[in-house]
Amino acid sequence: MTVVSVPDAGTSPAGLTRRTRVLRRLRRNPLAVVSFTVLAIAVLIAVLAPWIAPYSVEQTDFTNIFSPPGTPGHLLGTDDLGRDVLSRIMLGARASLEVGFLAVLTSLVVGVPLGLAAGYFGKLDAVIGRFTDLLLAFPFLILAVGLAAIRGASLGNAAVAIGIAQIPGVIRVIRSDTLRLKSLDFVAAAVVDGASDLWVLVRHILPNATSVILVQATVALPAAILAEAVLSFLGLGIQPPDPSLGTMLATAQQFATQAPWAATFPGLAIMVLALTFNVFGDALRDALDPKGDR
């Protein structure tokens, strides 16, 4: 007997699969719809930024520095070198998302297998637990400081530092979900059937843990975006003249009294990005919550 029917794939009395139910619940939640729309637009703008930004990010115009927002041709004004703030925000958002995705990917690639192993193999749990404790002792900024000291500051190092710092969180949620799934009948059935551990983990536990992974990713992404902004602001991340929302704020800080808009809009952009991810993440978690299935 091969156990194919897993609880999550079961159909409700109405004959709907879990996936359709979750999607329907998301569609009915106005917050989910709005945040998803904003997110889609933001991601589209960020991806297409190099082609649709009104100006080149490095194009300086010294006759036109500190133009206030609304200046013809510069919707959000210009900065200390006469560069277009809107264009730089578009490309900065692109960099933020890039670091965010890289960091989350790093944490998942390392954290998911470790979490599965910790939850599934009792003997490994203690070892992985100590590893988690160790990672937790190094906050992302301290990791970034260390990495910058060893390898120099860059976008990649920022992403790695943030990603490493997010590994413990991934391990924790995957571990507890694995423990939960392991105790369910269909897994026990597969084990009794003589399925190998790897088979059980990959075919039975991992597919059922996807919703937890998804939720974890939506929680981690905005956190990573914020962390990137912090690192770049401090000069530990993306290096000027490459545009980044964090470095824009660092520069703007020096001229904050002359050009407050340059210190306002990039921060607003970070907040909108993080906020929409968080709102959508909340909606997704509610939609995936089996308590809502009734």
Partner: protein
């Protein structure tokens, strides 16, 4: 001491040892000759030889590690390349600022976060919950260093209510000290407050639907007693753990906040050190942060067992 605490103590000690090894290996991973990195400006052969001898760089790794630990235990982290001062002295002056900032931020975050979380759970499905949830989401999504920038721009510079930067030690001028530190502490506290609020809310929702809360209501207790004594007390166990786990985020946040408000703390010292390639300071900072995190989380475990009698008092029956 209960078994649980013994296990935690052993785990903390183990983590501390591992963290020390990681930091030590990190120094070895520095590009180039560690003696060159440690030497700073004076790179004469004699100076390099002196450093090699001082740090035992000519010895085997295990001996080097032993000496490293021994020196760290004596609070000897070498001399700062940038300032020429002993690193331990620099830390001694910087640390109180950071501790004060962080402690105040935790206090503010706990009061705001627990308060809002309780309100959101008790007023479930009413406007008060939406407001609290919305504020928490914003608190979670706003980059606090930007919030700090805006606060300086619109509160300090524009109104002059708060100083934009600088610091006065508490011992010299308590009022002035608070005046300087309250705004950064509030800013630093917002993110933590948002996290605490969300955790408190979900823990409160759990405990409000618990059987013992139904019992408390059935006893005719006032809502205040039901919520405060029964529901919140159980939820606080969760909150305490969260504060411990969020300490890493708080340390990171403190670094940024200090650098924005120009507070002469640990964070500012660290950032300056990175750009000056001041390796003795950097490794001391990393080692101390890790140690602080591990020690404080062990204290949290102790506190946890004080709050929760199931850990403190072993069961006799059942």
């Amino acid at each position: 001491m209960p078994r649980y605490l013994l296990t935690r103590a052993w785990h903390s000690a183990l983590t501390l040892v591992l963290a020390t090894i990681v930091v030590f290996l990190g120094i070895r991973a520095l590009p180039g000759d560690p003696a060159l990195s440690l030497a700073g400006e004076d790179r004469s052969p004699e100076a390099l030889a002196a450093i090699r001898a001082e740090y035992g760089l000519d010895q085997p790794m295990i001996v080097q590690f032993g000496r490293y630990v021994e020196r760290a235990l004596h609070g000897d982290f070498g001399t700062s390349i940038r300032t020429g001062l002993p690193v331990s002295d620099m830390i001694r002056t910087a640390l109180p600022v950071t501790i004060e900032l962080s402690a105040l931020a935790i206090l503010i975050a706990t009061v705001l976060g627990v308060g809002a979380g309780v309100v959101a759970a008790v007023r479930r499905g009413r406007p008060a919950e939406w407001v609290a949830n919305g504020l928490a989401l914003i608190g979670l999504s706003v980059p606090h260093f930007w919030l700090g920038l805006l606060a300086i721009l619109y509160l300090s510079v524009a109104t002059g209510l708060f100083p934009a930067s600088g610091f006065v030690p508490f011992t010299e001028d308590p009022i002035g000290n608070l005046h300087h530190i309250i705004l950064p502490a509030v800013i630093l506290g917002t993110g933590l407050a948002a996290i605490i609020m969300r955790q408190t809310r979900s823990a409160m929702l759990d405990s409000l639907s618990a059987d013992y809360v139904r019992t408390a209501k059935a006893k005719g207790l006032s809502p205040r007693a039901v919520i405060g004594r029964h529901a919140l007390r159980n939820s606080l166990i969760v909150v305490v753990t969260i504060v411990g786990l969020q300490l890493g985020g708080l340390i990171s946040g403190a670094v940024v906040t200090e650098s924005i408000f120009g507070l002469p703390g640990f964070g500012k010292m660290t950032i300056d050190a990175v750009f000056q390639r001041d390796y003795p300071v950097i490794q001391a900072v990393i080692l101390l942060t890790a140690t602080a995190y591990i020690v404080i989380n062990f204290l949290v475990d102790l506190l946890y067992s004080v709050i929760d009698p199931r850990i403190r008092v072993a069961g006799e029956a059942a």
